[in-house]
């Protein structure tokens, strides 16, 4: 953790805005596409590969340089959240570390493209809005039954739709 902190401090002077969650609309649209309803919290449109976590996520416990989850025993340990459509139950950890963790990922372009959750909390909602990452909840149960790691998913947090396949 000490090195982790040192890395943060080195970068302290170079704070700037990085755009994330750029829409890649064309890729997800196709003949076999299946659509599910969801409830948009942070708006925007993004598509990418699904990555599913059984456990709540504390973004402070990811490596900002790679997006890899470093929390011991976490169901995503060793996997990268960078550029993924991240599907997880909810956030955990204090507001300070959670926001800073996601921010460090964002600075390096390693934040998830969109987040699909079950249990919203004030930290995750505020952070998603501020960092302009699409965030949805209350997803049709059929989506959870169908989705697997690596599936291409389009999150349309404008219309409240998740589109798979195609």
């Amino acid at each position: 953790m000490a090195n982790h902190d040192a890395a943060r401090n080195r970068d302290a002077a170079n704070i700037g805005t990085v755009t994330v969650g750029a829409a890649d609309v064309s890729a997800a649209v196709g003949a076999a596409a299946v659509s599910f309803t969801c409830h948009p919290i942070s708006r925007g449109v993004a598509s990418g590969e699904a990555l599913i976590s059984r456990d709540d996520i504390c973004f402070y416990l990811t490596d900002p340089e790679t997006g890899v989850v470093i929390e011991k025993g976490h169901s995503l340990e060793g996997k990268s959240v960078a550029g993924k459509i991240l599907i997880f139950p909810g956030g955990k950890g204090s507001s300070v570390v959670q926001a800073d963790g996601l921010y460090q990922l964002m600075l390096r372009g390693n934040a998830p493209k969109a987040m699909i959750i079950k249990n919203p909390d004030t930290v995750l909602v505020a952070t998603a809005i501020i960092m302009e990452i699409p965030l949805v909840d209350r997803v049709d149960e059929g989506f959870y039954a169908a989705v697997k790691d690596g599936d291409r998913v389009r999150v349309d947090a404008e219309e409240g739709r998740l589109i798979m396949g195609g």
Binding site: A2, D5, V96, A99, Y103, P120, T122, A126, I129, I130
Partner: protein, 401 residues
């Protein structure tokens, strides 16, 4: 959700991009938690952290022209006057603190730099709607003062201060403040330290339900209640609790549950407290330093330390973190002099989770606060946990049994 014409103006950017961003956060929270409308707040407390994300956000609001409608009190970072020349700190560390100070000043915050505003500078009345972040503060204003705050994050509380509003959901609604789980405390509470252990032990048994404690003494100290809330909200996410016969929404057991039957029940025994104590503390032995003030110490706690230290000399470093007002009172009353003569320090405006403690990395400390041990582990410190008087004696001897 319903927005008033004034709230729509904020959201649409008529007051600038900073206010619009703050309102977007508030509306998203309202959408996430099914709020029907916004309600005005009269107080706020922002858990400023002096970390990069925190600074980035407040500077972005300031650049967007945002000013606080409700000036919030703020959490500590580190004291520039104490640590500016400390070898622990890099130029970047100093720069982040200076920019944090400048940005929060520009946005119109009240720069108290204390995590215990609920004891001095920002005390709500019963029923007052407020937005308090900081893990020890939210439970205190909800439970002890009977004010209404959700478990705000640093960012959402700052947005509330800027807009002067919060979405109406959760603990703002009487229905959601009712007790859900009965916690029968069989352990006898010997001192304020036992409340630390109780707060740390309870979430494992009750999850995030609203606890109603029975079996506790009728006249707890403010510090005991501060400890209880801080640990409940560190070990778990419990931001409101009731103590029958003590806290204002729990004059009776029936009132605490709002007429409902408890959904579940838990018992906490002395063994539970002893077990949690063992699980979060290093065993005794040599210690390098003593750290107090997570949350910030009160004058009574400073006095307790001074009484033990009077006329003695410390073997280990001893640090007491507190508000600038408490430090000034300690100076006037002679307590600061006693502690400094023994070789100890009282530091204002400073949190344990800051870069100014780099020289303690890899060292072993003693503290009375599980929250301190929890957050400082991230900075490479390990702790023996003991009641306050034993901690101070340990710092005199350089070891703890």
């Amino acid at each position: 959700m319903h927005l008033t014409p004034e709230e729509k103006k904020m959201l649409d950017g008529e007051y600038g991009e900073g206010v619009a961003l703050a309102m977007r956060v508030q509306v998203a929270l309202g959408e996430a938690f099914d709020a029907e409308r916004m309600v005005p707040i009269t107080r706020a407390h922002v858990a400023l952290s002096n970390q990069e994300a925190d600074l980035w956000f407040v500077e972005r609001l300031v650049r967007g022209g945002a000013r606080c409608r409700i000036p919030p009190t703020v959490n500590p970072g580190f004291s520039l006057s104490c640590f500016r020349n400390a070898p622990d700190l890099t130029r970047d560390d100093i720069s982040i603190m200076e920019r944090t100070h400048a940005a929060y000043k520009a946005i119109g915050a009240t720069l108290t730099y204390s995590c215990t505003p609920y004891l001095a500078d920002n005390i709500p009345l019963p029923g007052e709607v407020v937005a308090f972040s900081e893990s020890s503060a939210t439970p205190y204003v909800n439970s002890v003062w009977g004010a209404r705050s959700n478990r705000e994050s640093a960012q959402s509380a700052l947005c509330a201060a800027v807009t002067g509003r919060v979405p109406e959901y959760g603990f703002l609604l009487p229905e959601k403040r009712k007790g859900q789980v009965l916690v029968e405390v069989e352990a006898e509470m010997k001192d304020d330290f036992d409340y630390q252990l109780l707060g740390y032990a309870a979430p494992k048994k009750i999850g995030a339900l609203v606890p109603v404690f029975t079996g506790l003494p009728k006249n707890p100290t403010p510090e005991a209640l501060m400890n209880l809330g801080a640990q409940l909200n560190t070990a778990g996410a419990v931001s409101i609790y009731h103590i029958v016969g003590v806290t204002p929404e729990a004059p009776t057991l029936e009132a605490a549950f709002g007429g409902d039957t408890p959904a579940s029940r838990a018992v906490i025994t002395r063994k539970d407290l002893d077990d949690i104590h063992k699980s979060i503390s290093l065993p005794g032995g040599k210690i390098d330093f003593a750290m107090f003030g997570c949350p910030h110490f009160t004058l009574r706690q400073v006095r307790d330390i001074a009484r033990i230290l009077e006329g003695r000399t410390l073997k280990a470093e001893l640090w007491v973190l507190t508000s600038f007002t408490t430090k000034e009172l300690a100076r006037r009353t002679g307590l600061l002099d006693i502690i400094e003569k023994a070789g100890g320090h009282i530091v204002e405006d400073t949190c344990i989770d800051q870069p100014c403690w780099r020289h303690l990395e890899g060292k072993v400390g003693v503290t009375d606060s599980p929250k301190c041990a929890y957050y400082a582990r991230r900075r490479g410190m390990e702790f023996v946990l003991r009641p306050l008087s034993e901690c101070v004696e340990a710092a005199v001897k350089g070891e703890v049994s």
